[in-house]
């Protein structure tokens, strides 16, 4: 079975949940930090992804809290979600390593 590469919002959401459960706004803020301030998830995009990831069993609701009269639902990563994120991380690490290698070869070639 060939894996399709994971979309960026999915990667950011799974990574944000890897260390522990978070609520929706927490995920948005965390994803922005993880991406080095480059990606800001829109609320609609976040919930479309959470809806899909929940039904695929990669994340699941953890608990609900009420803060300032507002419902906050926390989500956590499931074991399947962690496995998928690990595979994606390995894939990204491998392609980044290739990129680094080629760049250093280019640099060496330029010096010569």
């Amino acid at each position: 079975m060939k894996h399709r590469s994971m979309q960026e919002p999915t990667f950011l959401i799974l990574t944000a949940l890897a260390a522990g459960p978070q609520h929706g706004y927490g995920i948005i803020a965390d994803a922005e930090r993880i991406s080095g301030g480059v990606s800001r998830l829109q609320t609609g995009t976040l919930y479309m992804a959470l809806d899909r990831l929940s039904s695929a069993g990669l994340v699941q609701p953890d608990r609900e809290e009420v803060a300032d009269g507002r419902l906050r639902r926390y989500y956590r990563l499931t074991d399947e979600g962690a496995t998928l994120l690990a595979a994606e991380t390995e894939r990204r690490r491998a392609s980044a390593a290739v990129a680094a290698q080629r760049l250093s070869a280019r640099l060496a070639g330029g010096m010569a």
Binding site: Y25, Q42, T45, M48, D51, R52, A67, R72
Partner: protein, 290 residues
Amino acid sequence: MTDGDKTGDPVRMAALERRYRRLLRCYPPSHREEMLGVLLDASRPGQRGPGASQTLNLVTCGLAIRARRTLAGGPWQDALAVVSLIAPPLMLIIAILDFAVAVRETMVQAAGAGITVWHLSFVPQLGGPAVMIIGWLAVVVLALTGRRRSAAVVASVPLALALANLLTAVLEQTWLMIAGLSATFGYPAVIVLASPSAQLSGPVSSSLDVLAIAITVTVTHMRGTAGGRIAALMASGLLIGFAGTFPAPGDLTASAALSVSRLLLTVLVWLVAIASWKGQGRQASRAAAG
């Protein structure tokens, strides 16, 4: 990154909340309260409303969630699979009948003008039906050989023609407006989204046929056995298809009456579908409660 709600003035916040609540109707109810909290947490101080890009994002993502939930599993998916299997051959039959009718009319016209058909260098009214036949034939072959993606791509040709026809009909004849609108909403909702090889045929009437067939399949699927399902599908599909093919165009009264009766039929089937849908919803909520 700011808790705009704590510092903003209450009147403005209430207005912002109202606007967000309106947009959140696109989402399943279970998401709404939670998302409202996130949206207000993420709002900037002094923000008056959602911008254009946020509005677009909220609406499209909400519709995407609903579409995915509707089509993932359950009776809808099965019903649409049946439609995608049956619709291409049925549309091919209808296209062939359309062509036959067009040929007959051309011959009548030619006889009236005192010439034989073979002296007409180009017969425009045969072009459309001929394209339809070629298109549907290709779709049927591709679908039968399992090339569903190609089938869907090829089906977009008759789809484009059907929409062009629909637009013309709506522009020219106001009484077609209702039928046209119903078909326009029916296409994306029931057919196009659903099945890789489901598609549409030529005239407005045929688009309503496909819609009616899709609904009939869904309803009979929810209610009936497999045999009854196929029988109901074939009967209603063929009946509606044949009825639309045979009356002589130009006989406006007959076509108008036909369109109205089709529209009533579609509305009736819709009502049954909604009733059956609600019945299922009640059963589901009873099961969840019990």
